[in-house]
């Protein structure tokens, strides 16, 4: 069980949760919990306890609920979500599907409500590769969805997606391939590219690896060629080109590879942080001027940090999930 540090008393936490705390005291608690991941977990344990205890009291005011109206709302939301599932197969298929979901694997759910048979692929905690009827392949990142027809019968090749995916499209000049993602539409003839939509930042970004891609939003249009990246900020209705990450970070989820060619340490740290998700803290200004040229493929973060520490003469320390880098700096560079 995580212990509280001496200056954070239970009385102080009680005041904090009860809203009886002064500005200065609040700062003390805020600083403590922002200090480390460990402190944050400890804080959430106490907060959960406080909230759970609240269940025993009277609710401030019972919430008035219109069950019928809420049920209707729920139905509408359900319709607007990922399309309805109705399996043409027996119950074994349903069981198989639910098992796949439970185990965090890849689940394909067949849907027969629409004229062209649409297939909904949804990933949970693993990446999946899907081959479409025209031979195109789609690598679907974790927690992403792709809806596609079993066969491409119309004049184009329409699919819907959310989350992140890499497309490698089989060329067909007569049938453009169309990807609907959020409010954006991406049209291609034959090429490979990455699409990422993020609900958090409200953006859709497309990175083109080979060929040419057209990115449409409302009445704006952006043509992207190999090596270019386009970003749509939906709320701002802004569609524009952006510099792709020189380290290959945009593709890291799929390639597990990062390339640095003389970038400075702050950029390298930032890339490693987003790629691996562990906080890395730079604890010395002297090393900010150091730079690195290296390619890492399929390596664990600790292995990369070891390379960094040897080549740049750094000390790497691990502390509750974060890595702290210190060093003298690079005089010979």
């Amino acid at each position: 069980m995580n212990k509280l540090p001496e200056h954070i008393t239970e009385a102080l936490l009680a005041k904090y949760f009860a809203g009886e705390i002064s500005e200065e005291e609040k700062l003390i608690v805020d600083q403590w919990k922002a200090h480390s991941e460990e402190a944050q977990i400890t804080y959430y344990q106490w907060e959960a306890l406080w909230l759970d205890l609240g269940n025993f009291g009277e609710s401030p005011k019972p919430v008035e609920v219109n069950v019928e109206k809420s049920w209707e709302e729920l139905l509408t939301k359900r319709e607007n979500q990922i399309p309805q599932i109705s399996s043409p197969f027996g119950s074994w298929m349903k069981i198989a599907a639910s098992i796949a979901v439970v185990f965090g694997l890849f689940a394909i759910i067949y849907q027969l409500n629409k004229p062209a048979d649409l297939i909904l692929a949804q990933t949970e905690s693993s990446i999946s590769k899907i081959v479409l009827a025209d031979g195109s392949t789609v690598t679907l990142n974790k927690y992403s969805t792709l809806e596609y027809p079993e066969e491409f019968l119309s004049e184009n090749r329409p699919v819907n997606m959310s989350g992140e995916a890499f497309f490698d499209i089989t060329p067909d000049l007569k049938k453009p391939f169309e990807i609907k993602v959020g409010e954006g539409l991406i049209t291609v003839l034959g090429t490979s590219f990455n699409i990422k939509s993020s609900r958090n930042t409200d953006t859709i970004s497309v990175y083109v690896q080979t060929g040419k891609v057209r990115f449409d939003f409302a009445n704006q249009e952006l043509v992207l060629t190999a090596g270019e990246k386009g970003v749509l900020i939906t709320k701002a209705e802004l569609l524009q080109k952006e510099q792709p990450e020189p380290s290959g970070l945009d593709q890291f989820w799929r390639t597990r590879s990062l390339t640095f060619s003389g970038q400075k340490i702050p950029y390298i740290i930032k890339s490693l942080q987003s790629a691996y998700g562990n906080p890395i803290i730079l604890d010395s200004d002297a090393i900010k001027a150091c730079s690195l040229t290296a390619k890492f493929e399929n390596e664990e973060l600790e292995e990369i940090l070891e390379v960094l520490s040897i080549t740049l003469n750094l000390v790497v320390e691990k502390k509750s999930g974060s890595y702290i880098l210190t060093g003298e700096g690079c005089t010979d560079q």
Partner: protein
């Protein structure tokens, strides 16, 4: 994946009638329950609907090891705690929590009745006066100032007694903490 040797109650949640009945039977109570955490009626309604949508989407057959009711309350509690957590964390760690916010995995639910019993037992361990102060604040929503006046105590005493009560509860409820911990680590900072 190990499964405990409970008897499973199998419910086909994708049967419209089952889904609708579950929703209509428990909705009001779940909203009130969620509201004790969120203290926002609209958000609480939204939250309970989300929980139902999630259950609908996630599985066709829901394997439930306790009562359905316990499962639903556990799910609403988890969702509420996560929402509170995310609201605070969002600003700072927006990038890091990206995957977590998208589709949280189903987590183990809490045996709510068990938790209630443990909390009751823990409350009984608090000295009488101390407990009175705690209940006046936490259960009846009285301000520290008013409690001090009502019981003829100094504000400092109320503060200290609140801390003491919280400490005892935390010590007594040690057993339940691993569940919270599991919840936090599953939804926590790691991708």
């Amino acid at each position: 994946m190990e499964e405990p040797e409970h008897t499973h109650q199998i419910i086909n949640i994708r049967e419209e009638a089952v889904f609708e009945a579950l929703f209509k039977k428990h909705y009001a109570e779940l909203v009130n329950f969620g509201n004790k955490y969120l203290n926002d009626p609209e958000q609480s309604k939204e939250l309970v609907q989300e929980v139902f949508l999630n259950i609908w989407q996630k599985s066709e057959i829901l394997k439930i090891q306790t009562s359905v009711k316990s499962y639903l309350f556990g799910a609403v509690r988890n969702a509420a705690l996560n929402q509170i957590k995310h609201q605070k964390v969002q600003q700072k760690y927006q990038d890091r929590v990206r995957f977590n916010t998208e589709e949280p995995e189903t987590v183990d639910f809490l045996e709510l009745d068990e938790l209630k019993t443990s909390i009751e037992n823990a409350l009984n361990k608090i000295p009488e006066k101390c407990r009175e102060i705690f209940e006046l604040n936490r259960f009846e929503g009285k301000r520290y100032k008013d409690i001090a006046e009502q019981l003829n105590l100094s504000l400092k005493t109320v503060e200290n007694q609140m801390g003491k009560a919280l400490k005892i509860l935390r010590n007594e409820l040690g057993d339940y903490l691993p569940i919270v911990l599991l919840l936090i680590s599953l939804h926590g900072g790691k991708i």
